[in-house]
Amino acid sequence: MPEVTLVEAINLALGRAMEDDASVVVLGEDVGVNGGVFRATVGLQKRFGSERVLDTPLAELLISGLCVGMAVQGLRPVGEIQFMGFLYPCLDQLVNHASRLRNRTQGRLTCPMVLRAPHGAGIRAPEHHSESTEAMLTHIPGLRVVIASSPERAYGLLLAAIRDPDPVVFLEPTRMYRTVKGEVEDNGDALPLDLAFVVREGRDITLISWGAALKETMAAADALTVDGISAEVIDLATLKPYDENTVLRSVAKTGRCVIVHEAARTGGFGAEIAATIAERGLSSLLAPVTRVTGYDTVVPMARLEQHYMPSVERIVTAARKACQFG
């Protein structure tokens, strides 16, 4: 099987989806001739024409609003937002329209659209290019929020998102676009949404993460073996609705949990997971659930960026502490 990068996997999935279903339309700023600022849509306009791969004017609200109109009319639009920091004008459409049209009309109109955006820091980008505000999106009823953390899952989850009958925001870890490779067979097989992936089995502690922070989380799990700690690692993958069962099952087994995310701590999605465990898994806990997160600051620019991100060291320290508790 060919080894591809995460961004190439996205490209394969988009091409496959467009090949299989003539109603799939890709739209966004620079997605046409240029193939997207990260090259996720490279070659698609040549293959499918400028009607199905269209360069929009520079207007994010419009991109999300067009997706709503197209989706209601039976197209399967996949909108691209260049960076998560520019997604905010789309919130009006996501909150007020995309996520609730089905409910408002009691199923008469539906909105099967996907909005893709790069997610997170670590690429020494300018301001507003390093955001990880996924928790904001997970608060929206009726929406799905999915994030990939490997080429295989990027391919399978994006296909699933495009085929899903409801609106999905699909986040792509920017710093993993070209730094990870994986074997992806372009066979059109989707992966299930709403399910977490246990990417490493373990006995002593559960580490939960998503997106690019999974890289440090896996490295931490490796490092912990030196202490004789066997860590189970979960890639949450779908943040809304999230797979509580896999989380609770794992914590029931290990009795300990550290949640790792790049987003700022307060109101981050880690708080939601911790609350679920407190409500429904308290009796299995041997130590408090803790979080290793970005700080409650604006994501710093390049010079301080690495101090903001959850490091392998911070994760290892938190995990050790949990294992030594009591």
Binding site: A59, L62, G69, L75, N103, T105, Q106
Partner: protein, 366 residues
């Protein structure tokens, strides 16, 4: 408008634009200019008249229901009945309507049942699952945010080579939003089959048009997006229809979008929660009563012997009967069970939310 800051003598003018104003019927029902061909169809004019009257009486009933606690906040069309009814009358069944919350008239014309409209304003989503054209959008509440949807819908029509048109209605306040410009700009680029209609009732709650825009007309906003905008007398249903027919036909014919500014006046409060006397004088409102669309059309119809006193009495009785019957049906519709609020959230309810649904259903999940 030459000023000392504009040294334009001798410079070539590279672009030149104009905005037309369309009117046929004067306030007293007399004719200002030859009527368009369709106006020879007495049945059509009478149908428009009947729907406008029905809408006005329906509004009155809805307000009464709201005042007695049997309906939620409601937005009347008083004074602007000609706009939504006139626009809708030029649409085909297969075209898609994207209405604003004040467009009950368009929904009624498109076959939505009165009790469905009441159900919506009575706080039940089932009112949006209406029996009008199945692809029409429900009322849009976030002002102007339906304009990008209209562009998306029209793009789908164009992509599939379907001779259908999206028709998007919004108020004058909405034209201040980027949404509307973003949508018009995109529609202009791709020559989409979409007609944008601003119902300029001159007020956005308490904010008058002059604080909404420095532009002389709203119609000229289309020029920046690369297509024609025209202003019509929104109290003249013949003008509204003519403009809509032309714009929709042009859009269907692949000539791209149009923008119609229909100028009327909101004679009533913004909604049942509003008190317009706080921000405008009775004299101002009184003056606009002289322009209103229903009396104007009635005067014209009467002058052509298309309408008389007995017709009017019969219509009032018909409307009364129809409205009362709808109200009766509306009041009999039982609320849904609480847990059904989950039923149309997703195509299939994710497992994570099933417990919350059971909780609402009275199960003991906690």
């Amino acid at each position: 408008m030459a000023s000392k800051w504009m040294a334009n003598e001798g410079l070539p003018v590279i672009a030149h634009f104009e905005v037309c104003h369309r009117n046929y019927l004067a306030p007293d029902g007399s004719i200002n200019r030859p009527l368009p061909v369709f106006a020879a169809d007495a049945n059509l004019l009478v149908a428009l008249y009947r729907t406008m009257v029905l809408l006005r009486l329906f509004d009155r009933k809805a307000v009464a229901l709201q005042r007695t606690g049997r309906l939620g906040t409601y937005a009347v069309s008083l004074g602007q009945e000609a706009v939504s009814v006139g626009i809708a009358s030029a649409m085909r069944e297969e075209d898609v309507l994207l209405p604003s919350y004040r467009d009950n008239g368009a929904l009624i014309w498109r076959g939505v049942k009165l009790e469905e409209i009441l159900l919506f304003w009575g706080g039940d989503e089932r009112g949006n699952n209406f029996s009008g054209p199945v692809h029409d959008f429900p009322f849009c509440v976030p002002v102007g945010s339906q304009a990008p949807h209209a562009a998306g819908v029209a793009y789908a029509f164009k992509l599939r080579r379907e001779p259908r048109v999206a028709v998007c209605l919004f108020g004058d306040g909405a034209t201040s939003k980027g949404d509307v410009y973003e949508a018009m700009n995109f529609a202009g680029i791709h020559k989409l089959p979409v007609v944008f209609v601003a119902a300029n009732n001159q007020w956005a709650i308490s904010v008058p048009l002059r604080l909404q825009t420095g532009a002389e007309t709203l119609a000229q906003k289309a020029i920046a997006a690369g297509f024609t905008g025209e202003q019509v007398d929104g109290n003249d249903v013949v003008a509204v229809c003519a403009a809509a027919e032309e714009a929709i036909a042009a859009a269907r014919d692949g000539q791209g979008p149009r923008f119609i500014e229909a100028v009327s006046y909101r004679l009533g409060d913004h909604t049942t929660s509003d008190d317009a006397s706080r921000y405008r004088s009775p004299e101002e409102v009184q003056a606009h009563w002289k322009e209103e669309p229903i009396a104007r059309l009635r005067a014209y119809l009467a002058s052509q012997n298309m309408w008389g006193k007995t017709d009017e009495e019969q219509l009032a009785a018909d409307c009364h009967e129809r409205i009362e019957a709808a109200v009766e049906r509306y009041l009999k519709i039982a609320s849904r069970r609480p847990e059904t609020m989950f039923d149309h959230l997703y195509a299939d309810l994710p497992e994570s939310y099933a417990a919350q649904r059971r909780e609402l259903a009275g199960g003991d999940d906690a």
